[in-house]
Amino acid sequence: MARYLITRLISLIPILFGASVVAFLLVRLVPGDPAIALLGMEADARSLAALRQQLALDQPMVVQYVTWISHILTGDFGRSIQGGRAVFPLLLGALAPTALLSAAALVISLVIAIPAGIVAATRRNSGADYTASFLALCGLSLPSFWLGILLILAFSIYLPVLPASGYVSPLVDPLGHLSHLVLPAVTLGTALAAATMRMTRATMLEVMRADYVRTARAKGLSRRTVIWGHALRNARMPIVTLLGIQLGQLLGGVVVTETVFSWPGIGKLTVDAIFARDYPVVQGAVLLTATLFVLINLVTDLIYTMLDPRVRLS
């Protein structure tokens, strides 16, 4: 396992290097002087000159990259153009609300998707299967921000039981936090549930046809034991893989959901920074999100190999 982990970690190096190059180039591709892009139009000549020297902007691109990445590796992501705060603590501060929202969305999706997928597979071609499959396709086709707006209309305006936007820390007011969390989490969890349900159904259908399931049935085991004890145990691998991919994609999905619900996470921070042309924050957010995305995929692979050691051996 340790050898596999080391191999996988080594394989991440070129990808993370490439991601850092993309984040580095973002500011360099902005038309005009990168120093102005990083400090803003209001910056004075002395500050601009100091930054040019600090980031080696008068040097070749390779030197600029090495200088930049050495700052990043020490946690120095630069300073926000708006307010001058250090970017790294800003990103870390936004990470907690995003993690809470993503976790809630994941729980909602699993609670809906796994039972729905199992029912659809075990009652193939029944009314329940057609309904679940059609609803899953609808869930995949729903633009999340539209679902968010519809939920606000329904539960914040017509039936005012939940807040339309905002965030309350769970440490300050746990109930207030939950009430603010429900609508964005349902919005984000719906598309995730749709994809997971389809995968659960497809995998369960395949597994239910396997010889060992037929043997289990022939032994006279109950339907429940066959489904939960035999079939689902073997169907979980592709589902875990999909969940890992989806969890990574949640980092993208939060961009729109957080904007609709004014949820102060990494997605809203990125969108606000884009409109404020706050490139140090955009650059930091893109790099941090890509790193998290890659690490989530790594963790998914590791869980996969723990569930099925044949993957590691192959």
Partner: protein, 285 residues
């Protein structure tokens, strides 16, 4: 023996028959066809111009004459939705076309040549995959500036690796087949083998992937427009109509309901069609 004698007889897939056999795919085709008709025939179908104001009927609810209501400038929502189909389908089609052509070419080259070329191309694709797609599209449009063309480019870039992976996987299988070996033995050039022998045999899954990516491209375009990074006002897009609707959500909920429904139905149509095509051409799935 002529070279043609040993080549496989190309299988003619009856796309139309496949579609009519599957009611889901047929429904998908119907919805997508409706969206295409709306986009192409917008000047003839739409009751008003997309930007024609009616200051007497601002924020009017759905009534006769304005079937889906009007916005804060009195512009007809139905007309703007019909014109908005042009933007969504334009971005969807061209972003998938650009990603499909470039991605397939890269996948074809990677799969055929293997070794260093394969490693180089696929590691580049992995780097693009290292970013959540919406975030990368946002970052690209943020740098290039918000516009319709940049939205197409951004969506094409994020979809590129998907096509490259599909094309590479298919190429790895097809390049080992006997008719490709035969072409090599007969002295045909690499370009000829890639373009005339392998490409036609890997196209079916690429096209199925394209139909699924078309739906995803329409949603991504609506995200970009909603966030203000797609086509800029006064161009009507479903995404920027929804962005505008947020400010009037209590007074005029129809501004939010109908453009979103247009995105949902179009994407649902594409997904139904894509699912039907996949079931037809990729029975393993």
């Amino acid at each position: 023996m002529s070279s043609e004698a040993i080549l496989p007889v190309p299988v003619k897939h009856s796309w139309l028959r496949a579609i009519t056999r599957d009611p889901r795919a047929a429904l998908g085709v119907g919805i997508v066809a409706l969206a295409i008709v709306a986009a192409l025939g917008a000047p003839l179908i739409a009751p008003y111009g997309p930007d024609a104001p009616d200051f007497v009927n601002t924020l009017a609810p759905p009534v006769a004459g304005h079937w889906l209501g009007t916005d804060e400038l009195g512009r007809d929502v139905l007309s703007r939705i019909i014109y908005g189909a042009q933007t969504s389908l334009f971005v969807g089609f061209f972003s998938v076309a650009v990603a499909g052509i470039a991605g397939t070419a890269l996948g074809l080259i990677a799969g055929y040549f293997g070794r260093v070329v394969d490693a180089l191309i696929m590691r580049l694709m992995d780097i693009v995959f290292a970013f959540p797609s919406i975030l990368l599209a946002l970052a690209i449009t943020a740098v290039l500036g918000p516009s319709l063309t940049n939205a197409v480019l951004a969506i094409a870039v994020v979809n590129l690796p998907v096509f490259a992976r599909v094309a590479r996987a298919q190429t790895l299988v097809v390049r080992e087949l006997e008719f490709v070996e035969a072409k090599r033995a007969l002295g045909f050039g690499t370009a000829h083998i890639l373009a005339r022998t392998i490409l036609p045999n890997i196209l079916a899954p690429v096209i199925v992937q394209g139909s699924l990516m078309f739906a995803s491209a329409i949603i991504t375009e609506s995200y970009l427009s909603f966030l203000g990074l797609g086509a800029q006002p006064p161009t009507a897009t479903w995404g920027n109509m929804l962005r505008n609707a947020i400010g009037f959500i209590e007074m005029a909920p129809w501004l939010a309901v109908f453009p979103g429904a247009a995105i949902f139905l179009t994407v649902l149509g594409c997904n139904l069609l894509g699912d039907g095509l996949r079931d037809r051409f990729d029975p393993r799935d």
